[in-house]
């Protein structure tokens, strides 16, 4: 249902502390904008069209659709909102994005131009893998996967089908051996198909396991 905008109860500006380890500055900026859009005045061009545009651009940057020039355009728009914004919510969000852009410029560049997320947060830039040395053939991950992307069985090393995996992360917490992990584009050697636990080192030596191509 629609609600009337209450201009009186909008949040005030805050200062931004350095981001904790494991927090993606791009994703963090996106969250600030999404939050602001839920409570901002939404009336003026800065607030309505501006924040919508910023959200669209950052969403693209975090999902692999970033384009050359996006960072410059983002700075234009965010700088515009920070200078012209009407409500505290949009000003706070814009300042947050600017803070992230300034302080974590390398991360933004990596997201936009190299499709990498150092914090392994942005799903488009990560893979979920099963570390063959750790896997004990426990099938907890198979049961946890809602997409049915993991193949394997009792006593077999589980293999994640990257094409079917949605990066939901459900499997990450269930493995008692910590064998399921996130990975960037540089992945360790993995079996192509489930093989018996303990056979991975032999198979790798015999050349059965090829190093996968970097997913681009």
């Amino acid at each position: 249902m629609s609600t009337k905008i209450d201009l009186q109860n909008l949040p005030v500006t805050e200062e931004f502390a350095p981001l904790a380890e494991g927090v993606c500055p791009v994703e963090w900026a996106l969250e600030r904008v999404a939050e602001a859009r839920l409570i901002s005045c939404g009336r003026s061009v800065t607030c309505r069209d501006g924040l919508t545009q910023v959200q669209a651009i950052i969403t693209d940057i975090t999902t692999g659709a970033g384009q050359p020039g996006d960072l410059a355009m983002l700075r234009d728009v965010v700088g515009y909102i920070a200078a012209m914004g009407d409500c505290q919510a949009s000003l706070t969000a814009a300042r947050g994005v600017l803070f992230s852009l300034d302080r974590y410029a390398a991360e933004w560049d990596a997201h936009c131009n190299r499709k990498r997320c150092a914090a392994l947060v942005c799903k488009a830039y990560i893979s979920v893998i099963c570390l063959p040395e750790r896997c004990q053939g426990d099938t907890a991950c198979l049961k946890a996967c809602p997409a049915g992307a993991i193949s394997g069985g009792p006593g077999l090393i589980a293999v994640v089908d990257e094409a079917r995996c949605t990066r939901c992360g459900d499997c990450l917490t269930v493995c008692p051996h910590g064998a399921i992990a996130r990975s960037g584009p540089m992945k360790p050697k993995l079996p192509d198909a489930p093989i018996p636990v303990g056979s991975f080192a032999t198979a790798a030596a015999a050349g059965v396991v090829r190093r996968r191509r970097r997913a681009e």
Binding site: S2, C41, G42, D49
Partner: protein, 707 residues
């Protein structure tokens, strides 16, 4: 308070106390880009396009919210400002469709003009869409294409600040903010008055008038008040409906009298083209304008219009008006006011023409007609009765100008065997005789031939005379030419209808009609070349309707002959040799026409307007300026109309028809007019389309001297 003096881009301008820099600059002819600002609305600083720099201050500020104070030095053009404006416009365009050419506001769109001014294109930004665009778009009067909305908030302010309706606001749904009604209910349910102020101020195509609601062949200012646009005399209908609603009946009549000198008669007989234009029809049904006019006329006891309006000095010019019907008397009325010495030559012994002698008493009471004719005579028009003018040329010799407004006083008879029998009459003669109290030999039963309104007027009159009436016409059912209510009224009073029947002949002897021989037709048309009837008869359907008399209601003619001195066409209508058609001018210099003698038998309001035009034309011929427009009542438009719950549902008030058995016994009007409550109720249904005329149009960049 003194005016403030400030400089804008080095130009010194002055501002009214309290005026914004934006408005002061615009008033001085200096353009500052703006979209959310509107000359009639308070500022809101939504669009951020009117940014300026102020000497001694950092950053930029919206000039719509910047008070124009003494000594202020403002810069409106710089590369930084241009950059700001371009980003703002790019952001707006990111969520705006790119189909300019398929938008109905194409080339009439402030956003489009802004694109042109700033040289911005849809390109760099991401295309954004909204899920809330499709909310609440189904509406009969205001088209809401909200994907075109740039959220300037003008409509919200117009609805609230301008109209006091206040049903539009900024709503939120999830992370989207949009313009809508509380709870997203349809406009009608929200209490909308459908004044369309929101449409008038919308700078884009987001809010549009429903296609087809206004005529597109008229100037915009005229078309947006469709009732007045449709009225041949262009009466200021919303103004008088407002006065009726306030109970100011005499002033309401004065407003009507600015355009027509017969408001009361029209309250009875007008064909109310205004109602067919009424915008309210799209909501439920049109305002009952004609009946309200009659209501007000009945209560006009103060005659506030008397003595008002223009009265020019006497010109010493003499004008003869031939025919004292609505066209002739209207022209005479205005020509007299214009200072000319007017004499009306009326063939009959009463004036009023068709209003007095061609329409039955129960549709237009004699007292009403004679009262309004009387006001014209009182104003100084001389009427000479019983004057049969045989030659316009002869009359022209004694007058500086002559107006021929004889109408179509001669009834036509079809060429049927027996059409010359003694008891065969024309509707014109019959109705005239009935109004004059003359008796005709009608017997017990009379057949009326014809299917128009006149035929049913005749039937109703016959029934009131105690004569059984049978109406025979070619058209069947829906195709009949008369108004539905006229047919139903006459039939409920006891008229027998033979629709879809063709006549073969009149039975009887030249001394006594005994019947009408008819047969049924399955289809018919009139030959294009000859005008002859081509029909397909139903086999073995011939029958004789027994009757003692016949009345032809089969059209009328001018009765003019070559001896009248004017060039006539083959139907007997004077022609203007310049155009070759009938018109206000004739083949004789200084002799003019007005009314039915130009158009053929038509409605009273058309004759009145024709009379007005002729008066204006004749005045110019006589050396005047032809100006006949006048204001008898100063207008007070109250723009704050406020919200009314259920306004869209308010039903049209109908007159109560007297029972058929009762009304057929007398010649009193067939229906009873509104009571006071009904009149207020009905008048308040008006959408007041004219309020929109007071909303100024926002000027675009090209209309400013400095841009």
């Amino acid at each position: 308070m003194n005016r403030a003096t400030l400089t804008v881009d080095g130009r010194t301008i002055s501002a009214n106390p309290g005026q914004s820099v934006l408005n002061a600059a615009l008033d001085a002819g200096i353009y500052i880009p703006h979209l959310c600002s509107h000359p009639d609305l308070p500022p809101q600083a939504n669009c951020k396009l009117c940014v300026v720099e102020v000497a001694g201050q950092d950053g930029v500020v919206c000039s719509c919210e910047l008070p124009a104070t003494d000594g202020l030095q403002v810069v409106t053009q710089s590369s930084a400002l241009l950059q700001r404006r371009k980003v703002a416009l790019e952001l707006m365009l990111a969520g705006h469709p790119k189909d300019c050419v398929s938008c109905k506001r194409y080339m009439n769109c402030e956003l489009q003009a802004m694109i042109q001014y700033l040289g911005t294109v849809h390109s760099r930004m991401r295309v954004t869409t909204r899920k809330t665009d499709d909310l609440n778009v189904d509406n009969p009067i205001v088209v809401r294409e909200m994907e075109r909305c740039i959220q300037c908030g003008r409509c919200v302010r117009a609805c609230d600040d301008l109209r006091g309706v206040g049903i539009l606001g900024f709503n939120r749904r999830g992370d989207e903010v949009y313009v809508g009604t509380a709870g997203d209910v349809p406009l009608g349910e929200a209490g909308c008055r459908f004044c369309s102020a929101c449409v008038a101020v919308c700078p884009t195509g987001a809010l549009q008038d429903q296609f087809g609601i206004f005529r597109d062949d008229l100037p915009w200012e005229e078309a947006i008040v469709p009732c007045s646009a449709e009225c041949p005399a262009h009466a200021d209908i919303p103004a008088y409906l407002r006065l009726i609603q306030q109970g100011r009946h005499s002033e309401a009549i004065a407003v009507i009298r600015e355009k027509v000198p017969f408001p009361h008669v029209l309250g009875y007989v007008c064909n109310h083209r205004c109602e067919s234009g009424c915008k309210r029809t799209a909501l439920n049904s049109p305002v009952s304008i004609r009946n309200l006019k009659r209501y007000a006329a009945e209560r006009d006891t103060e005659h506030v219009w008397r003595g008002k309006g223009f009265h020019k000095e006497r010109s010493g010019k003499r004008v003869a008006v031939v025919g004292g019907g609505p066209a002739g008397l209207t022209a005479a009325f205005y020509l007299n006011k214009l200072g000319h010495d007017v004499t009306v030559y009326e063939k009959q012994n009463v004036a009023g023409g068709y209003m007095a002698l061609g329409i039955p008493e129960f549709r237009a009471p004699t007292a009403v007609v004679q009262a309004e004719v009387g006001y014209i005579v009182e104003s100084g028009v001389r009427v000479r009765y019983g004057q049969n003018v045989e030659s316009a040329a002869a009359l022209k010799a004694e007058h500086e100008a002559v107006l021929v407004a004889v109408g179509t006083p001669v009834g036509k008879k079809l060429r049927l065997p027996g059409a010359d029998f003694r008891q065969v009459y024309t509707a014109v003669d019959f109705l005239r005789a009935s109004r004059l109290g003359q008796t005709l030999d009608l017997g017990q039963t009379c057949c009326v031939i014809g299917g128009g309104n006149v035929a049913f007027d005749v039937a109703g009159t016959l029934l009131r005379m105690g004569v059984r009436a049978t109406v025979v016409c070619l058209e069947k059912g829906e195709a009949m030419l008369a108004d539905r209510e006229e047919i139903e009224s006459a039939c409920s009073e006891g008229a027998v209808l033979f629709d879809g029947h063709s006549n073969e002949g009149i039975e009887g002897t030249p001394e006594q009609v005994t019947g009408l021989r008819v047969h049924e037709v399955s289809e018919f048309h009139f030959d294009r070349a000859t005008g002859a009837l081509v029909e397909t008869a139903v086999p073995d359907s011939t029958r004789v309707i027994a009757c003692d008399s016949i009345v032809f209601a089969a059209g009328q003619a001018t009765g003019l002959t070559e001896g009248f001195g004017l060039e006539l066409n083959r139907f007997g209508y004077p022609v203007d040799p310049q155009s070759g058609k009938s018109g206000h001018r004739t083949s004789l210099d200084g002799v003019f026409c007005a009314g039915d003698v130009i158009t053929g038998t038509s409605f009273v309001i058309n004759a009145i307007e024709s009379g007005r035009q002729a008066a204006s034309l004749i005045d110019r011929y006589l050396g005047g300026d032809g100006q006949i427009d006048e204001v008898l009542v100063e207008r007070e438009r109250q723009p704050k109309i406020g919200k009314v719950d259920g306004f869209h549902l308010q039903a049209r008030q109908e007159l109560s028809l007297r029972p058929a058995a009762e009304r057929v016994c007398d010649f009193q009007p067939i229906n009873v007019n509104f009571n006071a409550d009904q009149s207020v109720c009905e008048a308040s249904r008006c959408l007041q389309c004219d309020l929109r005329k007071d909303i100024r149009k926002s000027r675009i960049w090209s209309e400013y001297a400095v841009k």
